[in-house]
């Protein structure tokens, strides 16, 4: 199950952060997402990165903690997408397709002429679409 999704701007400022757990763990998820940015930085700046992964947006598993796993995805505009899952075994392909849809939703949201770049995404449509994607993901992994 996806605990939280986040979009982080290229200056590492949070653009969108939504948790899908009922518990009052917003602070924790904020922390986890924030920490994961370090890992993204590290991945992206690592000079040893091979050519095959250099052009890949999907960054893979970033930050395994005991109860969560964080996956990351980096767009060409350096917008970062993060997913915190409580599933400890998730197929890579599932995550990839999830990120692709998430990215598409983001692109649509920021294409709105009234959206201010690098400001928080307040679009209700975007929120609905993301929760739709998250639900679809949950259904896909369970079924």
């Amino acid at each position: 199950m996806i605990a939280s999704v986040a979009v982080v701007g290229h200056q590492n400022n949070p653009l969108y952060l939504q948790s899908f757990t009922n518990a009052n763990d917003a602070l924790k998820l904020h922390h986890i997402v924030h920490c994961s940015l370090d890992v993204i930085d590290e991945r992206v700046n690592n000079p040893k990165r091979s050519v095959s992964t250099l052009n890949e947006s999907y960054l893979g598993l970033l930050y395994p903690t005991e109860s969560y796993k964080v996956y990351g995805y980096l767009s060409n505009t350096k917008a970062k997408f993060l997913v915190v899952t409580t599933d400890l075994d998730v197929k890579d392909a599932d995550i990839r397709s999830f990120f692709r849809r998430f990215h598409a939703a983001y692109v649509d949201a920021v294409s709105n002429p009234f959206h201010v770049p690098e400001k928080k995404i307040v679009s209700r449509t975007f929120a609905q679409r993301v929760s739709g994607i998250v639900k679809a993901f949950a259904a896909g992994t369970n079924g």
């Binding site: 590492n12 400022n13 653009l15 602070l27 922390h31 924030h34 940015l37 930085d41 000079p47 040893k48």
Partner: protein
């Protein structure tokens, strides 16, 4: 890097070193205690040797030298596993001790990232380089250390293009030193365990004082194994250890002579391992030990008062020599020997192929042995224990190769035996050996990992061992530069430890993240927060604050407010716990504006904040308090210099609008500024050009937007401005400006509000614009610097206005200089100030409402004002009346038909498009404290919303100031609702050339109001309205209900022929009421006539210019400078144009007149004289423009005169029906006038004609045929020459009827409703129109013959008429329709206007029916 020289290498060499067990007699201890030390403490400083330089030979024959060596000393009673509680207490004490040191740091500023990363390295140089490699264009950080750099992939230095060296922090700079101590203490809690032998004593030191009775016996007592540690007695370790005997002599007890006897005795009893040590030889000194020789060795215990008082230099040297002798001559050789012996044994039993097979076989046989948690027990004599001892001794003597091989040997054994704890211990040591040998990292990491997990697997008993293993592992990784991995290990340890220990571990983890490459700041912050949390849980608030504070800078990154709020809030809370309230508040302030948090959280934050502030016990002043949020961009300053405003809302009107309105009003040169050069000169020449001017006693208003970001209502009180003022006049001592006592020089307004929250349903929060005032009381300079407020009666916030914000709008100021100067005011002495209001001006008015209003001017000051002028922006709606009208009763006053004298409209009425200037009479002065009222007339001309602007100019009488005049500005917004809409359609009367049928369509457009129609008037004396003969009243009903449409018909008679050239506005009225109210309202009286002028002027504007200019004769093409006069009429129309150079718009005024022109002009000469004519007129009148002329701006350069032929103006006067009680009496309109102007009487043919002649003839047809003569009178209604051709037909062409039908259709669209009506109204109208009777076509019964000419052609001059004689022949009696003739007409303007005129220039009309009845004459 050499692992031996790393911190961890040195640590291992210190921690894993030979242990000496010490036993003393009480008297020996007493001797030491005279110095405040126990015996171990006395020896401790001399137990480590940096330059021992002893040759060592272990199993290998090759000797090597040991430089660094250390002995550990412990009392026999301490050599046992520590109790858990005791260990916890001990560790907690370490943390508590650190508490005292950090308190001063907590009150200082938290560290910044730059400071953290730039802090100077001490000792070891760590350099970093930023490498820009040319091929990858990437920035790489690496540590310029030959050993470590390769690990970062920077072996190849050749591609370095630029290097930038940074100094990077060492761990010791970041990590508080007590943490190191803590780690050591944590490790020591697992000392003396059974499964490891490096803590087992290598030797035993027995100490007896020389004062002891029978020292030998004392030694024997000490040798008693009962009091030995359990390790020796339980068989875990070999009880046969090296023994060393020492006699301690206290010099104060006498000379050491007798000791030699004891020594000799001892040597005979115990052998050569006997020594003698002398202490306390120094004099007892009372001074505080400045030159205590002990000083360099024991600073850590020197704080006790009498420490080492009695130790002389010789004593200390004696101790040192003793220790050196002990280690190099006894301990090391003993260990060497033991290693060799054990090695031989191991080689004999375990080395070689045979032994290994045997071992395996033997081990396998034990497989089914029951498994115990500690595995099988091993005594000291078992081969496994001996291997372990061998390996540990080798490790301690730095023979890591030997140690490693033995550890490896042992680990398989233990693994097979399932002795997991021992296995883990051995793995741990294997890892350490690998590290010390600088062998493969993978191996050592693997070993440490195995050890760590194995320890954990065993359970709680070896949890602490796991922690120790982890600490060593982390140190090992740090020594190799793998900080990130080290951080991970610390994190793993923290999971296994109680919260306090976990906190320390997490803190270390965070430092590791900071030191990793590149620094992982976010993880640093996160782990600090985790650590702080654990500290807090374990009641270490100081440490918790320290950890959180250090993390703060990480979250200052934009947007992570959730986390930073949490950190700030907790830091604040904890500060308040430890009583540092100011810092607590400082941090609390950061979270006040937490709009993103939930309501509960906001409440918690606020309450906590107020709680802290209250416990502070006094009001607290905060700069830039975040609550409420002040929108600095909304800052607006309003003040009155020479401009004053009637109400605060008037200030918001754009300054440009006022200025354009006041152009003609203001006499000063400031308005005539035409270019930028001008303005610059003016501003530089101004005396106090950089500050605005305000007047004593008149408030300066600052408007500021306050915003409550929270969902909690916030009470704010005492909002006021912060101001400073200074006297302008130079005081005697020479200072130009001296600060003035602010209390008396101005007065501040104070305001209390409660900022409500934006409710739950609305996301956006409430903004509140707050108006603050400062009222200067003295002349001088006043400066507004900021704003202050009190939040919840507890916190005073203040904020200075910052002046760097751009694009700020500031009203009431002409030149937009920076705000800093705009907030400075030059206060000048008091001036009179008029206040004005327009009484009874409703906000909503029906269209057409005509009402009197009262303008009230009040002068509050002592001075009187004079020369009052008024300018009104929309004279169509508002005009000033006459003073006589002040007390008249409206509308009664207008209903005075008898006294209606023909009078000219007032000369002051200038139908200007822009505005209206009115000068009050000279005697209208407003004295001090007096009031002036003046009537105004209001007429709601057009539906819609309108803003009326009124500027009143006045001059100050007897004023010494440089400000001689002031302007009062007033502004009103009105909404004009639709009421009655009227439209007219005029068709020429067929039966009379001078009569017209008028169809009047009236629609009530209101929703619920009804109107009673009162009167219809035509304007001007040229027209006469009369009811159709069959009806008494033209209108069938008097009251028009809401939404009702009505059509009325009446007759209009053209009286132009018999009127002279003198026109006036008396008009012709037709009462539409039937019963009671018979009074006719005179439309030629004052307010009505002026408004009609304006209406007429504005309605011209909206009509279609081209067709209109074509239809009516006079137009000027200014491009060609040609003019066509109005024809041959005696009332020649002359023209005048104004040319405004600045905007290149042409104003043309036509006027009617005769005496004005010095030269006589006719239509041919006019073009040539026009330029001079215009010049003449410009000189002649700037003011007296006759009222009957209309001025018009023609964009297509064609201009039309009003007042010519064929135009009718109607005024429909109605009253509000007295049915609706909802409207207040004041609001109720008394009279509504609808002005409809410029209704053309002409149809779409320029001619009208009428056949005249006898209708009935008696003729004797039997005698002859009958000849009848007729006249066809043709009139030219147009303004140009028309050539007419009359054609008669004996047989009507077949197409006649269809064409006629087409004609009537097109005429239905031609005139009538103006184009401003709404769509649904058109529907109403068209249905009305549909009822109109169409022209009936009649068929002639019998043919008749036109006599005489069949075609006549003639030219008609404008407005002239001509008669054409006609004759027909009749042959039989009957009724004949004489309509079978056609009139072809063609307009012949002298010069044709080419282009886009759409009006047709020729056409054909068909004859009107004219019936002739011929009767047979009976004789």
């Amino acid at each position: 890097m050499d692992p031996l020289k790393s911190y961890f290498g040195r640590l291992l060499q210190e921690e894993i070193s030979p242990m000496i067990m010490v036993r003393t007699t009480p008297l020996a201890e007493d001797a030491c205690q005279k110095n405040g030390l126990n015996f171990v403490e006395l020896l401790l400083p001399f137990s480590s040797f940096t330059k021992l330089n002893v040759p060592v030979r272990t199993a290998n024959d090759q000797p090597y030298r040991i430089q660094l060596f250390k002995l550990r000393l412990a009392y026999a009673c301490d050599i046992h596993l520590q109790n858990d509680e005791v260990a916890e207490e001990h560790l907690k004490q370490v943390v508590l001790d650190a508490n005292q040191n950090i308190l001063p740091h907590l009150t200082s500023e938290p560290p910044e990232l730059q400071n953290l990363l730039k802090s100077r390295p001490r000792g070891y140089i760590y350099s970093w380089a930023i490498i820009s490699s040319s091929d990858e264009k990437k920035t790489v950080l690496f540590r310029l250390n030959p050993i470590i750099a390769p690990s970062f992939g920077c072996e190849d230095r050749s591609n370095l293009t630029s290097c930038d060296f940074l100094s990077f922090p060492m761990e010791s700079d970041l990590c508080p030193s007590w943490i190191e101590t803590f780690n050591k203490e944590l490790i020591r809690t697992v000392s003396f365990s059974e499964h490891e032998t490096f803590d087992h004593p290598v030797a035993c030191l027995f100490v007896v004082s020389s004062k002891d009775e029978q020292p030998i016996n004392r030694f024997v007592d000490l040798l008693n194994t009962d009091q030995f540690p359990p390790l020796l007695n339980d068989g875990v370790m070999d009880p046969k250890i090296l023994k060393h005997y020492l006699v301690l002599h206290d010099r104060q007890d006498g000379s050491p002579d007798k000791v030699s006897n004891i020594l000799a005795e001892m040597r005979s009893t115990f052998g050569s391992n006997c020594k003698f040590l002398c202490i306390n030889s120094a004099e007892a000194r009372s001074d505080d030990g400045k030159d205590v020789p002990w000083m360099p060795y024991g600073s850590h215990i020197l704080h006790r008062d009498n420490t080492a008082r009695l130790l002389s230099r010789e004593d200390i040297n004696g101790v040192r020599d003793f220790m050196q002798d002990l280690s190099s001559n006894y301990i090391i050789p003993h260990m060497e020997q033991k290693i060799r012996i054990l090695n031989q044994q191991v080689a004999a039993t375990r080395r070689g192929f045979r032994n290994q097979i045997k071992n395996l076989w033997w081990r396998k046989g034990k497989e089914d042995a029951p498994e115990s948690p500690d595995g099988p027990t091993y005594t000291f004599s078992s081969i496994e224990s001996q291997i372990r001892v061998l390996a540990d001794y080798a490790f301690m003597l730095r023979d890591y190769e030997l140690a490693l091989s033995n550890y490896r040997l042992l680990s398989t054994d233990y693994k097979l035996d399932k002795a997991w704890k021992r296995y883990a211990g051995v793995q741990e040591m294997t890892g350490l050996c690998s590290f010390m040998l600088d062998q493969s990292r993978k191996d050592s990491d693997y070993c440490m990992e195995t050890a760590f997990t194995t320890y954990l697997k065993i359970g709680s008993s070896s949890q602490r061992n796991a922690s120790r293993c982890g600490l060593w592992w982390a140190e090992m990784l740090k020594a190799r530069g793998q900080y990130k991995d080290a951080a991970n290990i610390y994190f793993r340890i923290s999971n296994e430890e109680p919260s306090l220990h976990a906190a320390v571990m997490l803190e270390q983890a965070s430092y590791c993240y900071l030191l990793s490459i590149p620094p992982m700041l976010r993880k640093y912050g996160f782990h600090l927060v985790l650590s702080g949390n654990r500290y807090y849980i374990s009641d270490q608030r100081h440490h918790a604050i320290r950890a959180y504070r250090n993390a703060l800078f990480v979250y200052r990154e934009n947007g992570w407010s959730y986390i930073s709020d949490h950190v700030h809030y907790n830091v604040g809370r904890w500060y308040s716990f430890i009583g540092v309230l100011d810092l607590a508040i400082k941090h609390m302030l950061e979270v006040l504006a937490c709009s993103h948090q939930s309501l509960a959280t906001q409440n918690v934050f606020l309450n906590e904040f107020f709680h802290v502030v209250q416990s502070m016990g006094k009001k607290f002043e905060v700069y830039n308090l975040r609550l409420p949020v002040i929108n600095m961009a909304s800052l607006k300053v309003f003040y009155e210099d020479f401009r004053t405003y009637a109400s605060p809302s008037d200030v918001h009107v754009s300054e440009n609008l006022w200025q354009s309105l006041e152009e003609e009003l203001v006499p000063s040169a400031t308005t005539s500024r035409s270019n930028w050069l001008d303005s610059q000169m003016k501003s530089s020449s101004r005396r106090n050009n950089d500050s605005a001017v305000c007047v004593v006693g008149e408030a300066v208003v600052v408007e500021l937007e306050f915003q409550n970001p929270l969902q909690v209502a916030v009470p704010i009180s005492e909002i006021s401005l912060i101001c400073s003022s200074s006297l302008n006049t130079p005081p005697p001592d020479g200072d130009f400006e001296s600060p003035y006592n602010s209390d008396s020089s101005f007065m501040l307004s104070k305001l209390d509000v409660i900022l409500e929250t934006g409710e739950t349903k609305r996301v956006e929060h409430l903004k509140l614009g707050i108006q603050l005032e400062v009222c200067p009381k003295m002349e001088g300079l006043l400066k507004i610097t900021g704003v202050r407020w009190t939040l919840s009666d507890t916190v005073i916030g203040y904020r200075h206005f910052e002046f760097d914000m751009k694009g700020k709008q500031k009203k009431g100021r002409r030149d937009l200089s920076s705000l800093s100067t705009n907030l400075e005011f030059l206060v000048i002495k008091g001036l009179p100030k008029l206040e004005a209001c327009i009484q009874h001006l409703p906000k909503k008015i029906f269209t057409g409402d005509l009402r009197p209003l009262l303008l009230e001017l009040r002068n509050q000051s002592e001075f009187s004002v004079k020369n009052i002028k008024m300018k009104i922006s929309h004279p169509r709606y508002l005009i000033p009346g006459n003073i006589e009208e002040l007390n008249m009763d409206f509308p009664k006053y207008s209903e005075n038909l008898e006294s209606a004298v023909i009078k000219e409209a007032p000369a002051t009425v200038i139908p200007n498009t822009k505005s209206f200037l009115f000068s009050f009479p000279d005697d209208a002065k407003v004295q001090g404290r007096a009031c002036l009222t003046w009537p105004l007339w209001f007429h709601a001309g057009l539906t819609g919303k309108i803003s009326l602007y009124v500027s009143i100019y006045y001059e100050v009488e007897s004023c010494s100031n440089n400000m001689t005049y002031r302007i009062l500005r007033m502004h009103h917004d009105l909404e004009i609702l639709p009421s009655i809409d009227v439209s007219f359609n005029i068709t020429p009367c067929k039966s009379s050339l001078h009569e017209f049928f008028v169809q009047m369509d009236i629609v009530n457009k209101t929703k619920s109001d009804s109107f009673s129609l009162h009167q219809l008037s035509s304007v001007g004396n040229m027209w006469e309205i009369s009811a159709l003969p069959t009806t008494l009243y033209i209108c069938p009903v008097q009251t028009l209900l809401a939404g009702q449409a009505l059509s009325c018909f009446f007759k209009l008679k053209d009286c132009r022929k018999n009127s002279s050239n003198e026109e006036h506005l008396s008009g012709c009225d037709l009462l539409m009421v039937s019963q009671d109210n018979k009074e006719v309202i005179d439309v030629s009286k004052s307010p009505m006539v002026e408004f009609h002028q304006f209406e007429r002027h504005h309605q011209v504007k909206s009509s279609k210019m081209e067709a209109w200019a074509w239809k009516h004769s006079c137009f000027i093409s200014l491009l060609h400078m040609k003019i066509y006069s109005e024809g041959l009429s005696a009332n020649l129309t002359y023209s005048l144009f104004f040319l405004r150079y600045d905007d290149l718009l042409f104003f043309l005024t036509f006027l009617k007149g005769s005496g004005m022109l010095p030269v006589s002009v006719d239509s041919t000469s006019l073009p040539t004289v026009l330029p001079s004519l215009a010049e003449h007129f410009l000189k002649l009148f700037p003011s007296s423009i006759p009222s009957q002329s209309t001025l018009h701006i023609a964009p297509q350069l064609m201009v039309k005169l009003w007042g010519d032929l064929g135009k009718v103006d109607f005024i429909l006067i109605s009253k509000m029906a007295k049915t609706d009680p909802v409207i207040e009496p004041v609001e109720r309109p008394k009279l509504l006038t609808n002005h409809t102007c410029h209704i053309s009487i002409s149809s779409n043919s320029p001619i009208s004609w009428q056949m005249s002649g006898s209708r009935m003839i008696n003729h004797d047809f039997s005698a002859s045929f009958c000849e009848v003569g007729f006249h066809l009178r043709v009139q030219n209604c147009s303004d140009s020459v028309v050539s007419i051709r009359l054609v008669t037909y004996d047989v009507m062409p077949g197409r006649k009827h269809s064409e006629m039908a087409k004609l009537s259709d097109s005429s239905g669209n031609g005139s009538g409703w103006n184009d401003i009506s709404l769509v649904n109204d058109i529907k109403v109208v068209s249905s009305v129109q549909g009822n109109r009777p169409k022209k009936l076509s009649m068929e002639s019964q019998f043919p008749f013959i036109w006599c005489a000419l069949s075609s006549t052609k003639l030219d008609l001059q404008p407005l002239s008429s001509s008669e054409i004689p006609l004759k027909i022949c009749l042959f039989t009696p009957g009724t004949y329709d004489l309509s079978n003739y056609e009139l072809h007409w063609e307009l012949n303007p002298p010069e044709r206007i080419t282009g886009d005129l759409k009006t047709c220039t020729s056409g054909t009309v068909y004859g009107h029916p004219f019936y002739l009845t011929a009767i047979q004459l009976q004789h």
